[in-house]
Amino acid sequence: MTVVTLLLSKASARIADITAFLTAAVTTVIAFMLIGSPVNTYWMGNWFPPFGITLVYDGLSGLMLLIINLIALLSIIYSFSYMEKYTAKPKFYALFLLMLAGMNGVALTGDLFNLFVFLEIASIASYALVGFGVEHQELEASFKYLILGSVASTMVLLGIALVYAMTGSVNMADVASTLAAMPAKTTIAFAAGVFLMGFALKSGLVPFHAWLPDAHPSAPAPISAMLSGVLIKALGVYAMVRVMFNVLGAAPIYLDIMLVLGAISMVIGGFLAVGQFDLKRQFAYHSVSQMGYIVLALGLGTPLGLIGGIFHLINHATFKSLLFLASGAIEHATGTKHMKKLGGLKESMPVTSTTFVIGSLSISGVPPFNGFFSKLIIILACVQAQQWLLAVLASIASVITLLSFLKAMKFSVFGQVPQAIAERIKEVPFSMAFSMIFLAVMCLGIGIAYLVAGPTFTDIFLQPAADVLMDGLENGSANYIATVLGIGG
């Protein structure tokens, strides 16, 4: 579809819009229809595992596919109007579809090296997209992101090489079954450490977060929404838990490392965000903090912790994308994203400010929005696992998040409109407003759905994903291995 978009767009730039929209719409509909279907595998080229590459669809993959494609569809709708002010709009769509293909591949693959290839496809497309508006700051941010991302990818490749040396295979299920049968070796522990480093950098966890506050503000707004909403989750958190839990067999030491990384990211991200006056840079630091929440919950290793982590992953995708799209709308209308130059937008931009307030309340964990429920589950899971310090830290980080978003709202939405921008503010075009309204409705809808029909919601969306991870934690991925190596076709 990337190539088709590029070729067709020579005829008219409108075709690129339509092609990108149709692609994302089709994949979203397929991902949505597949929710709840049983676990399935596909052998590429009819080579049976472990000799060929398998694509595996299970609960966790299905959920990731749904989020990735839905947020991508909404970002594409948003960029119909937003990307008009950049040149080479068809090339933007081509890179966007390439990134989307890479992320879908990461979610579906059952082979470690295939994971690396799709990781690189999505990463390289995102390096180019961050520097899309080729000004000073975008290029600098893109170069820094590129260097750090390349180091992370090299580490992942080193880990794959070590795993291959120890087990003789790169198929995930085959590696899992071989590692379960052999005694623990230091090489595998080293490979796990290297994997953790690589994927933690892709997730933006402290101390590997240095690229995130530069890259996310400099990218165009739909790309910021994609980067912060799905890329750091699909390439970072999803790959980390897939490799740690299902392939390497989660030893307690790996879970402890994830707990520590998550805890310090939560706190440091929150503290660094409070002092920011650039709207998008503050949101980027909050992404670091919320990734800390997700990794903390997944590192607890209890069933409630896994559900909390996965639920927060979904919620963060919705509200963080919403916040970045809203900040893009503010920048589109007013020409600035520095908080001290904004103010009083709620009269002249009602849709943007309402959705911005909804997104801020969701991320701060105010009921009845979705952020409240997922943060509550995470804190309860910490208490249940008797990690009192982590529960306290999670609560403190939540309060700091609320504090910084009150600051963001006060400076941008409420207050007086400054004279310099007063006359040219008007509401954003329909395509941008549509995406923001859809995401805001999703924030509220997920929250109310969980409040009203909690067990049903969990059973449909969250439990299959959590079961895959519990399978990896408890019985050495026996179900996963049986699915991939036993049945298939």
């Binding site: 390289i124 170069f143 080193l158």
Partner: protein, 116 residues
């Protein structure tokens, strides 16, 4: 064994170039050296002393090939990895050119408008 140590030393040199040098092109050379060190490591894993190429023709049977040939799977992985490295290098080089046009310097410590 010493080959593995030398490969890791090559990777260490790549990391050193990436961290310690301030010139953008030297950092790019460091990244490329690092990636090639890992490719070399992968090929070394599949190496067998006095092995033959894993190509089957009419003069050798499959069983004998499996006993004497070097492992072809890492070679396939490395082919893919080299191409990925090429793509990354192309992007890095074009970014370096664009950065020079904007900032008029190749010194990374002067390219620091994004701070805090």
């Amino acid at each position: 064994m010493s080959l593995y140590v030398l490969t890791m030393a090559l990777m260490g040199m790549g990391i050193y170039a990436l961290i310690a040098k301030r010139h953008i092109i030297k950092k790019i050379i460091g990244i490329v050296t690092m990636e090639y060190a890992i490719n070399l490591f992968l090929i070394l894993i599949g190496y067998r002393t006095d092995g033959i190429a894993p190509i089957q023709d009419s003069q050798i049977s499959a069983v004998e090939l499996a006993a004497r040939a070097v492992d072809p799977l890492p070679q396939a992985l490395v082919l893919t990895s080299i191409v990925i490295g090429l793509g990354t290098l192309a992007l890095m080089a074009s970014l370096a050119i664009k950065l020079y046009e904007k900032y008029k310097t190749f010194d990374m410590s002067e390219i620091n408008r994004l701070r805090g």
